[in-house]
Symmetry: C2
Subunit: 446 residues, 2 copies
């Protein structure tokens, strides 16, 4: 009991210190509010039909942002029957006009449809057009749910101020490199963080529950039952994800769908670790420092292939495709009996790097092929037809074969010269042909 | 149908040719009979109480021997209450006397009890004392069943002459190196061969059935039901062996108990091969030629340890103990992530050789240890206590460890200098300490 108390006093001290680091100062908050209001005011004055309303969303709109986060996200909600072209044209024009008005610079960003991004002094702005829909209605464009998320969170957090707890959680997840629902990170979105804190009340309560989580943890907020008048035994749609958090604005959506199994497990593991040994370290580049520490050891045989990154292909496409390609190559590596300790992929602006650390990269020019049991008549006939040096070992007919690839480098030579095209799944944009092979190099994902 | 006929005509031609090679000539048979009768006659004249009767056993007694097999086995059956010492003393004295009488040389051989072995001209003699027991009675000394086997076979083969079919089967099994129920060979005894031919009538009928055999084939001779007046649904004792052939003189004994799983499977496999492609080759050192052919290939990394063979320890003890020691070392090899293509053991008069052909014998100084799933609380705590460089991979906590043995030779150094004593099962007579390590050598079993 004494130990627990000491521990929890320790934790509170750690959390307070972190909070001091990461909370925006009062003047910072005030400055942000004044500036956002000015932008909103201007936007409203120049807005026109079919724009129905203008809503600030994102963490800065809800006082859930970290210090030095000056991202202002504003959504222009259009009438649902608006043509796509009109939405795009009006959205871009209005966005550009307001940024010009404040003397900022602006450019186009591309998601499902283009929107205006800009910089005014230290503030970053995204001005995004979307359709106005209602809760649980089908979305028309990919971003239509965001204003509803904002409305829900604003309403739900009226009762109690959860902003500091949300900040702690975000910072903790950032330290573990699992904050962000983009497909490179495959972690937790900001919205997911806020829902988790709403559910558990505080960062510590959440972690104390997380440490007991198993696979397929299901979370339904109390607010959902109230909003939709559901009974306690309501049957929700089932999802096949590691963590399932029902979206209060769309019950057919899992807010944690982008979270990978490994990152879900990291969250459980590091929750335990933090509670056992509360330390500020966890909040500050913990994962990156861990990787560096893990690399202070003897190494296997490094091999990296460098593939030219195609132009204008965004991270959310590049990363899943690198993973897909690498997994397909991994299958081939294993088929040829090579053994690796780990693999990873990373893309900078120009190059996609697929790296492996091999344990075994060279094998003798002979392999053992284990065939069917001697009692399987057809299998045995087929096997001896295709294998010359056969014999009986245990219950099976076996054979010695010449090995196709004695060295993993020869296998990779055939990958990059396209000879193994039929045996590898080439994703649409990332093609291993003509890649460079770098022996002795391993590129960590950063 | 035409193909089958051609095949079977081909088979009959092959079998006839083999039979001509392996059957004793008429003059050879006559000479053997005359000489055996002379020995029996002499033995009877000098025999005394408690010897009850004198019986010639073995293949030469039943015209089931191969050409140039001049082994004459004679059993002296003693009254069941005879003291061991008397049995030994009288057995040795009578045996020596008869060999002296014929001008041969004699010496002691050791099984469970000593007996006289001798050479008279081209004939080899074993004169073995045993106790006279009845069918299904408990044996008193290890060899007491042999005369009963002989009686059964003589009686059973009165109806039809199976001698040539038995010879074919023995020669076929010899060609495959699976003839002999000693613990080095772990194959088929001569008695087992004769029972199998009694059951199936001919060598070809037997092979045609063998090709359909699965594990745990059970064979009960019709004679057994007749001898003991058993019903068709009689429940016999169950055995956990690959092949079960009930001994007509002791229903609680499996005649095929010494047959190893692998040799049973070889019999099935090569029966198929022979029927598909009938060829004299199978009967003449086929297995040895196969091993030579298999060795015409690239090789892995050979390593042999040479252990001094203890004096006066017979093959039936040496071979199981070498196998036991090697299997125990194999466990250790695998625990340290080394991978071998094959292993074998062989003993000559002075040395026990344990050989391995390694695929991988060198590894980097790092290994991956996969720990428990992150959700297992106790397991995780224990794992991180014992491992420094831990991380989450997939659902598990894992760690990088320094490898204890980077090269398999270092592992073997610690085996022969006794440092791994606690981790290896040392059999009674074969101790790996102070063994020589030979890199680049593989000793085949011959």
């Amino acid at each position: 009991m004494k130990e627990i108390l000491e521990n929890s006093m320790g934790i509170q001290k750690v959390l307070n210190e972190v909070l001091t680091d990461i909370s925006p100062t009062d003047s910072e908050k005030e400055e942000l509010t004044l500036f956002s209001n000015a932008v909103l005011h201007k936007l409203k004055s120049i807005s026109e039909y079919p724009i129905l309303d203008i809503i600030q969303v994102g963490s800065t709109a809800r006082n859930a942002n970290l210090k030095n986060d000056h991202d202002i996200d504003i959504f222009l909600r259009f009438e649902r029957n608006t043509e796509r072209e009109t939405l795009k044209e009006v959205g871009l024009r209005v966005g550009k006009e307001v940024i010009d008005y404040f003397g900022g610079i602006s450019w186009l960003e591309y998601a499902e449809h283009p929107y205006i991004s800009g910089k005014i002094g230290k503030f970053s702005l995204d001005i995004v057009p979307c359709y106005k829909i209602e809760n649980c209605e089908k979305i028309i464009s990919a971003v239509d749910r965001t204003p509803l998320h904002n409305e829900f969170l604003v309403l739900a957090s009226l009762k109690t101020d959860i902003s500091n707890e949300v900040r702690l959680l975000k910072k903790f997840l950032k330290g573990l490199s699992i904050y962000g629902s983009d497909l490179k990170t495959a972690g937790f979105s900001g919205y997911l963080c806020e829902l988790l804190i709403l559910k558990y009340g505080s960062f510590l309560n959440l972690l104390n529950d997380v440490k007991t989580w198993k696979l397929k943890k299901v979370i339904v907020l109390d607010e959902i039952y109230e909003m939709y008048g559901l009974k306690n035994d309501h049957k929700f749609l089932e999802f096949n994800d590691s963590l399932i958090v029902y979206d209060p604005v769309d019950l057919n959506r899992n807010v944690a769908a982008a979270l990978s199994l490994e990152n879900y497990c990291k969250f459980i593991f590091y929750s335990k670790m933090f509670l056992m040994n509360p330390n500020k370290e966890f909040f500050y580049n913990f994962e990156k420092k861990t990787i560096n520490k893990l690399n202070e050891r003897s190494h296997g045989y490094f091999l990296t292939i460098e593939i030219k990154r195609p132009e204008n292909v965004v991270e959310d496409i590049v990363y899943p495709q690198m993973e897909k390609l690498q997994k397909s190559i991994n299958k081939l590596i294993k088929e040829h009996d090579f053994d690796y300790l780990r693999y990873t992929n990373f893309a900078d602006e120009k190059v996609c790097y697929l790296s492996w650390e091999f344990l075994v990269h060279e094998l003798p020019d002979v392999k053992l092929r284990v065939g069917p049991p001697v009692s399987s008549s057809f299998g045995v006939l087929n096997f001896i037809k295709n294998n010359e040096k056969y014999f009986v070992s245990g219950c099976n007919v076996c054979a010695y074969k010449n090995r196709k690839y004695k060295n993993v480098q020869i296998l990779f030579n055939n990958i990059v010269n396209g000879k193994l095209k039929g045996q590898i799944t080439y994703p649409k944009y990332i093609c291993p042909e003509n890649a460079l092979i770098n022996i002795g190099t391993f590129v960590e994902r950063i």
